[in-house]
């Protein structure tokens, strides 16, 4: 196998909306600033319209209809508005993946919400970055898809990462990291995404472990791709790190509601 040409693989993926990187930086702040969020949202009229639609939806809309971004941010709360804006800027994940089956869209939104919840439960600092990492950790599958080489199932192989490496020379975690780096997202996020299947190699193993666990929890429930149940879980993480079943159920329920509120306006 020739060395992986990660750069040429990620060059096959279309650039994301211009708002994605600035939104990730606003959300990375422990106390996201409303005026910074408003500035970013105003750069993209499509995003503005969709954010207003969510603010006026049955899930969030109370009282009179809102037509102004600033008021929408106030109604939603700055952090929630930022998370919604990130999700609404990630519609490129809703395209079907023919090689994997399904789309990464639903699992991305679920993983974002559950990663943040697991991060809080494990006392991880800066759970906003975990939300973004959960949302984008599988974006590398778009690069595998763009390469167009068949992902041949192999019962002898225990991890789908190996199948990806055999097919294109790199796995989706490496490709996700390369894409996030190329798109100008913070280095902390690039590291989390790069190691989400091997969290102890991360520079921030606590946060990355939360992401790894959230990913494993969500892949059980959102089983859209052929690969969903084909990634091993780290033995120490599999025991759940002290999380209670009710906490997980609540996180999944919240993820389900979040997904529905976004999916309605996309």
């Amino acid at each position: 196998m020739s060395p992986p040409n990660v750069q040429s693989l990620v060059d096959g993926v279309a650039p994301p909306p211009v708002t994605l990187a600035p939104l990730s930086m606003v959300l990375a702040d422990e106390r996201p600033q409303a005026h910074r969020l408003e500035e970013v949202v105003r750069q993209d009229p499509g995003l503005m319209v969709r954010l207003l639609a969510v603010a006026n939806s049955a899930a969030y809309g109370r009282g009179e209809s809102i037509t102004d971004v600033r008021r929408a941010i106030v109604r939603l709360g700055v952090r929630e508005a930022c998370k919604l804006a990130m999700a609404l800027s990630s519609g490129f994940l809703a395209d079907p993946l023919t090689l994997y089956g399904g789309t990464p869209w639903r699992s991305a939104l679920y993983t974002a919400v559950v990663a943040e919840k697991v991060g809080r439960a494990l006392n991880v600092r800066n759970v906003g970055s975990l939300y973004t990492a959960g949302l984008l950790c599988d974006v590398g599958k778009l690069a595998v898809e763009a390469a167009g080489r068949e992902l041949a199932a192999d019962p002898a192989v225990s991890s789908f990462l190996e199948i990806e490496r055999s097919a294109v020379g790199a796995d989706h975690a490496q490709l996700s990291a390369a894409l996030l780096h190329k798109w100008g997202l913070p280095a902390e996020l690039v590291d989390l995404v790069a190691h989400h299947h091997n969290p102890l190699k991360s520079k921030n193993p606590r946060a990355c472990t939360a992401l790894h666990l959230a990913d494993a929890i969500v892949r059980q429930v959102v089983c859209e791709g052929d690969d969903a149940l084909q990634y091993p879980v780290q033995r120490a993480v599999a025991r759940g790190l002290g999380l209670k079943p009710d906490e997980i159920d609540r996180a999944l329920l919240e993820a389900n509601d979040f997904f529905q509120s976004i999916d309605e306006v996309m």
Binding site: Q220, V221, C223, D226, L229, Y231, V233, A238, G240, R250
Partner: protein
């Protein structure tokens, strides 16, 4: 000349959803991982129902369960039999369950195992036995429930189809 064969009407059942079909209907649910598909046929009247629930218990959010009972095992199975009872007497239902896959997490976080146990418990409380099942493991499953025959066809990528 033979009359053209009519294709059975298919109804897709989403996550946290419950659908019923009469004779000739086919109920389909896609991408079952840890979720459970509960397929119930009332042979006496020829009606069937498929419930696709996501979580084992509604105790975490009673308001949510009131709005969407099919998200949970307990309220979903109650709703399933409630809806079927509107079509006829619940007499010797044939019950098949599919799903409950896992990524290998420990028991408390293994949503598949918890969902399978929840289904068995809810059915046992009603005095019903499971006629057939394909549960647990680490595969995703798509289910076609043919109400006329009671057959449950299960497909998984790169594997032969199974029939319950």
């Amino acid at each position: 000349m033979l009359a053209p064969q009519r294709k059975a009407a298919q109804t897709v059942v989403g996550v946290g959803d419950l659908q019923l079909a009469g004779p000739g209907g086919v109920l389909v649910t896609h991408g079952l991982g840890s979720c459970i598909a509960v397929c119930v046929l009332l042979p006496g009247i020829g009606w069937g129902a498929l419930l696709h629930y996501m979580l084992p218990s509604s105790k975490i959010d009673a308001n949510r369960a009131a709005r969407q009972p099919a998200l949970f095992s307990d309220t979903g199975i109650a709703a399933l039999f409630g809806e079927l009872a509107k079509r006829g007497r619940i007499d010797q239902p044939i019950i098949k369950i599919v799903g409950g896959a896992s990524t290998g997490l420990a028991v408390g976080l293994d949503m598949g195992k918890r969902n399978v146990l929840a289904a068995r418990k809810q059915l046992w409380h009603r005095g019903f036995a499971v006629a057939a099942e394909e549960v647990e493991g680490n595969i995703s499953r798509t289910v076609h429930f043919e109400v006329s025959t009671g057959r449950v066809r299960i497909s998984t990528p790169n594997q032969p189809e199974r029939v319950l």
